[in-house]
């Protein structure tokens, strides 16, 4: 699969010429720039990829060229210019900034993956101030660096005077040059006049100044990218890192990102096969940027949505107030989760804060109902081993003592955490590996659907219930007070990508709901019983596993759910903690101090809520996309199944990663086990040293994929969790891309 990236070679300086409108002299400016650069460099290339002429004419749009074909053609052409000699290439676009390309996509979107520095030709005509600034804004919100705006000086409208000042305020250099001579009726007269005009252009100081600025900016950009890792070592304290292992060599500089790919620079990149090594390399973002990426990096619709909210509100305080984006998002979540218990949405800024709120909601509701003393009683969390809910102290306390928290002076494990059986594919078979002593044997399943077919697994259920009832009865007898059961449904993420048996999690929920200190206390079927059940769906919710709600796989309804990460499509932080009415009512009284006195300055910030609304809308539509249908078909052996299913939840379990690939990987000798569900793939490598989180077993796979092989035009950027190497697609990652990744991954494993 071809994947062109952002273009940047040290000695070939490439400039892209966009026009604020048609008919404003884009080609004349390109010619003048070519002339100017030729005075400096022996080689100056000029490229106009799409046929010239009116961009809206039908014959132009009828061309069958895909965006990717054009991107690849331009990239290859430019690469052929990159010979190691000092040179310049000018790439002229067709029509205006947002004029349609052959695919129907706009020029600016077509070329965005290359992210070339831009020379914007402004509009000198009547109305041209507005069209020029709007064109610049359209480029700017697509992540382009516009280096200069230039236009013809035109006495009557004097657009250039206004625009020079306007852009100077925005750190963009703008200049003007005299307009070309009026067209002469006689062709040779005209040619002569233009020739004189071009010759005269050589003495234009603004043009010369621009060429100097452009060359400096090019060099500066490269030196910036190259020095960023070392500068980061000086100024940044990175998350989750032992900094004794940090050096400029271990830091990846990310120049930009688009779709599934980062544009990266590392000091340790694989030597290029071309004469001049590219400064940037596209790297598939296989951690989906720490599990956030949903709709592609640099998504212009999300950028516009964010900007609209910023333009309409900025942020507006949420105490005793409401605004449309927050209200609509709350309503959408309440409806889409399909959980009749849920009734109120609380906003925070990230998963950790949202889980702090979930913990506060749960333990206070329990304390209130059972009459516990908030200051004296030791109220605990019931959960699973290896759970992870965040890094603030309250969420750390909800997780068992581990390597993550043992050196944290204020950490206090407040809970009881159970072992649990895990699902995996091993040597071509789906198995459930018991961790419960009296469960003895490994169970084999013919398909992942069979694992999830909870109603047919009566024997397993009985065994789980017996075991759980016994354990919980013992805890109950000891008087242990549980304020909440907290689960990551299906996949325990940061704890090592562990796939919990859904049947076990379901039985645990049922057992927790029977753990009652006062069973007659509530008759409302939607009220919590035993202890509030919290699902941490921050990682697993919102289509990550193929469905809106991860709870739906267990067919039980939590009392509290936290969502984040994919919520905002991979753009900015926001978290929701959604609670049932019976949880909400536990905080009602005539005393303000009984309230949930929690809040953040940017609670329910409109930008986050707006982007979330847009993301949820787009992801809902993806369910019926051709790519998703294809993914589903790979798991069901029947492409039609998805259309005959009564609802999305009847469709069975599926993944973007094909079952055939998962099976093949499971047979590799380095591999202990593997699984895929939704967008997630996790490969557990044999951990010879048995170090768990501290293990480095997966590091070599990660490093191999990041280095790539000579000649490959993209690499894979991934993260590991101990001996687990994992990857996940965005919700928009194509089948073609996943297939290419499968090949890379399979070949990189021994």
């Amino acid at each position: 699969m071809r994947q062109v990236g952002s273009v940047l070679w040290p000695k070939l300086r490439v400039l892209q010429v966009y026009g604020a409108n048609t008919g404003i002299g884009k080609t004349i400016f390109s010619s003048i720039l070519c002339r100017a650069f030729r005075r400096r460099f022996k080689k100056v290339h000029y490229l106009k990829p799409v046929s010239t002429g009116p961009q809206e004419e039908a014959d132009d749009r009828a061309q069958p060229c895909s965006d990717r074909d054009i991107q690849a053609a331009v990239y290859d052409e430019l690469r052929s210019y990159s010979t190691g000699e000092d040179s310049v290439a000018i790439v002229e676009t067709a029509g205006g900034v947002l004029s349609p390309a052959p695919s129907g996509n706009s020029q600016a979107d077509l070329y965005r993956p290359l992210r070339l520095p831009v020379f914007l030709v402004g509009d000198h005509q009547l109305g041209g101030i507005g069209t020029t600034i709007s064109a610049w804004e359209s480029l700017h919100i697509r992540g382009y660096d516009v280096q200069s705006v230039a236009l013809f000086s035109e006495g009557r409208y004097d657009n250039h005077s206004y625009l020079k000042e306007y852009f100077a305020d925005r750190h963009v250099h703008a200049f003007s040059i005299p307009p070309p001579p009026e067209r002469r009726p006689d062709a040779s007269d005209d040619a002569r006049a233009m020739q004189q005009y071009y010759e005269a252009s050589e003495s234009l100081q603004d043009v010369t100044a621009f060429t100097n600025t452009f060359i400096d900016a090019h060099d500066k950009r490269i030196s910036n990218i190259q020095s960023m890792p070392a500068e980061a070592v000086e100024a940044i304290w990175h998350p989750f890192m032992q900094h004794s292992e940090r050096s400029a060599n271990t830091i990846t500089a990310i120049d930009s990102a688009y779709g599934d790919y980062f544009q990266t620079h590392t000091t340790q990149q694989n030597p290029s096969t071309t004469s001049e090594p590219a400064v940037l390399k596209p790297a598939f973002d296989a951690s989906a940027s720490w599990w956030t990426q949903g709709l592609g990096h640099g998504n212009p619709d999300l950028a516009l949505t964010a900007a609209h909210a910023a333009g309409r509100y900025g942020h507006v305080m949420f105490a005793s107030a409401v605004h449309e984006p927050a209200l609509r998002l709350a309503q959408t979540l309440l409806i889409s989760m399909g959980n009749a218990r849920l009734s109120k949405v609380f906003y925070t800024d990230n998963g950790s804060a949202g889980m702090e709120v979930a913990v506060k909601m749960g333990i206070r509701a329990a304390a209130t109902r059972y009459g516990w003393d908030a200051q004296k009683d030791d109220i605990k969390i019931l959960g699973l081993k290896n759970s992870y809910h965040g890094d603030t102290i309250g969420t750390m306390d909800a997780s068992e003592p581990s390597i993550y928290n043992k050196k944290e002076p204020w950490y206090t494990g407040r809970g009881h955490w159970m072992d649990f059986p895990t699902v995996k594919m091993s040597k071509g078979e789906w198995i459930i590996e018991p961790v419960i002593a009296d469960e003895g044997e490994v169970k084999t399943f013919e398909s992942l659907d069979a694992v999830f077919d909870i109603s047919s697994r009566q024997t397993d259920a009985k065994a789980y219930r017996t075991h759980l009832d016994h354990d919980l009865a013992e805890l109950h007898q000891k008087g242990v007070k549980f304020g909440a059961l907290i689960l990551e449904p299906i996949i325990l993420g940061a704890g090592g990508m562990l796939f919990a048996d859904p049947l076990y999690q379901r039985c645990l929920v049922e057992a927790a709901r029977a753990y009652d200190h006062n069973p007659s206390s509530n008759n409302d079927p939607l009220a919590w019983t035993g202890m509030p059940v919290v699902f941490d769906e921050i990682f697993t919710g919102l289509y990550r596993l193929g469905r809106f709600s991860a709870a739906s796989f267990l067919d039980v309804q939590p009392d509290i759910v936290a969502n984040a990460k994919l919520l905002t499509g991979g753009v900015l932080p926001l978290c929701t903690t959604t609670a049932s009415q019976s949880i909400f009512e536990a905080f009602l009284s005539n005393d303000k101090t009984d309230a949930l006195l929690h809040g953040h300055s940017y609670t329910a910030h409109p930008i986050g809520c707006s982007v979330a609304n847009k993301s949820l809308e787009v992801m809902a539509k993806l369910q019926d996309s051709a790519d998703w249908k294809g993914f589903k078909g790979q798991w069901q052996g029947n492409e039609q199944l998805s259309t005959s299913a009564k609802s999305k939840q009847d469709e069975g379990v599926w993944s973007m990663w094909s079952e055939a690939f998962v099976k093949a990987v499971s047979h590799r000798s380095q591999v202990d086990s593997v699984f895929a569900i939704g967008s997630v793939l996790a490969i557990s490598l044999k951990d010879a040293d048995g170090q768990g989180y501290a293990s480095k077993a997966a590091w070599s796979l990660r490093d191999k994929l990041l280095a790539g092989s000579p000649g490959e035009d993209w690499v894979v950027h991934s993260r590991v969790l101990g001996n687990v190497w994992y990857a996940m697609g965005a919700m928009t990652t194509s089948r073609e891309t996943i297939q290419a990744l499968e090949e890379r991954i399979y070949n990189a494993i021994e």
Copy 2:
């Protein structure tokens, strides 16, 4: 002071006609729309505020009209149409969307405060697809609701076919109508042809459909705004609220915001004096949206900056990576804080998480140096009473037991908190009120500068030191282990807007640094001694008090500083925790588990970092603005002082609120004391019932200001903290606005 707001009356429907370019038939469309509406309503008004003709012509721009004059004139004209009869008004703009208004500002920026629904006339000409979409994007990022895009159907370019599909995908209805007849040489011929054209337009179904849609959208918008409070009661769990007190009547619906003002709807607004009550009322955002607002709501530059980062990156994972916005922000903070100790910036998403990191940094550094056992030793925080650092459990634990946290089961106060003397103006005099028993008397100062003239207050310093040395010696003897001193420098915000004596805070820092268990351990003058000193500048930093760093007022340098709120100019959440090299080095070892294992998915999200870079750039420039010079002059009795000062820090203490006003307020009978510094004004009202945070003494002032008086065209939206009513401007709030507020506030207090 006039303050026009967003225009919305129930029976007068207003539509604003923008053009994607000039010369595309804006006036023709306006005429056709007028005709169409006239078939439905008796009254249809047409308004074209700025003279027609080429918008870039010099004579137009020479008009001396300010934006505010034009806004007020349009608003007044529209108000005169709002008679309670069903009617429509069409406001046509001049030129294109971003064509300059007389002030030089763009049309779209000029009219943004009114935020009228928009009818965008698209460009049917060659290149018009691009100019139309760019124009729409420029409106969209300024927070406008574009209801429809319409253009002439033009066979050759067929722009309308493309645009209909394009906008349908974006939920914007687009349609086209036949173009007008070609201009005829004979004027009366031409008039007749146009007459026929207009008559024929009456049968255009798309036009009729638009008028219906527009009228429905108008009604829907109003019913949405009116029902939002009740819907919020259903779906939302609000921060910091006892929900038994919540009803639709207590929730403010915020339709949009611009500059210093919300556009609000409450069910309890003061009856209007006009025949038809406006649905929306501008309300000055006096809490600066929970202390976040820096550069005005709906700021188009910040919206564009956010969009550019979203377009260039979206979010990119920050583990072992670096991108330009995060790197530059870290470097700017390190330079601008003027604190040689600081060397590394850690990113989180909000103040609470950032203070959790600060606590973790501090206590781990102390535990490492002193060899404490992280699991067994009780490591405490030294701090001041009434401090507040956030709502996650770790930051709650760093604050003394209080009404905020006493019912929180997992709260454990881990610290020792000192009483402290406070600064206030009482009956016209600046005083320092001792809370320390052996300090006895109230001290009077001739000016706020005298309070801050630390070097001349030797007697006070000696008394403080004696007292502090005694207390800390006692704690030391008891073996109390302090992991950090945590202070909010100068102002303790959420704890009730308490103005701490800077000299006392300085002495406390010095005393804490002498609290050493192993005094010979470090010779680096920039290393921490005694205990790490953490400044929580989340509220007080970044120009809030008039200077970049609040620490500079104390003339001591903390080892760790947290910044948030104003950091992103009031747009979205981001927090930085900046630490000294000696803190950073405490986490270095060959063991990953010694690292600060903290991180958030959206750590250092590029949008937040980019907006922060822009905000810091703009705020730095504001220091030399005319408004700020005026503010400073009000406090120094000498407008020249600020220019003669060697540095910003030599300028003395000042506030946006004039000292004369503060003095006048202090004499009001309801007022106990008052202070102002930087953008902050805090009025402590006499608290007859003595309830502190639960007190409702300030509620009536808040409610009075929100209700406003009949005839006033804006009100004041504020928040209270117990018996303290406070207000703060954004960094861009003008002197004129502050003066108008001073008048309102003074008159509202008895």
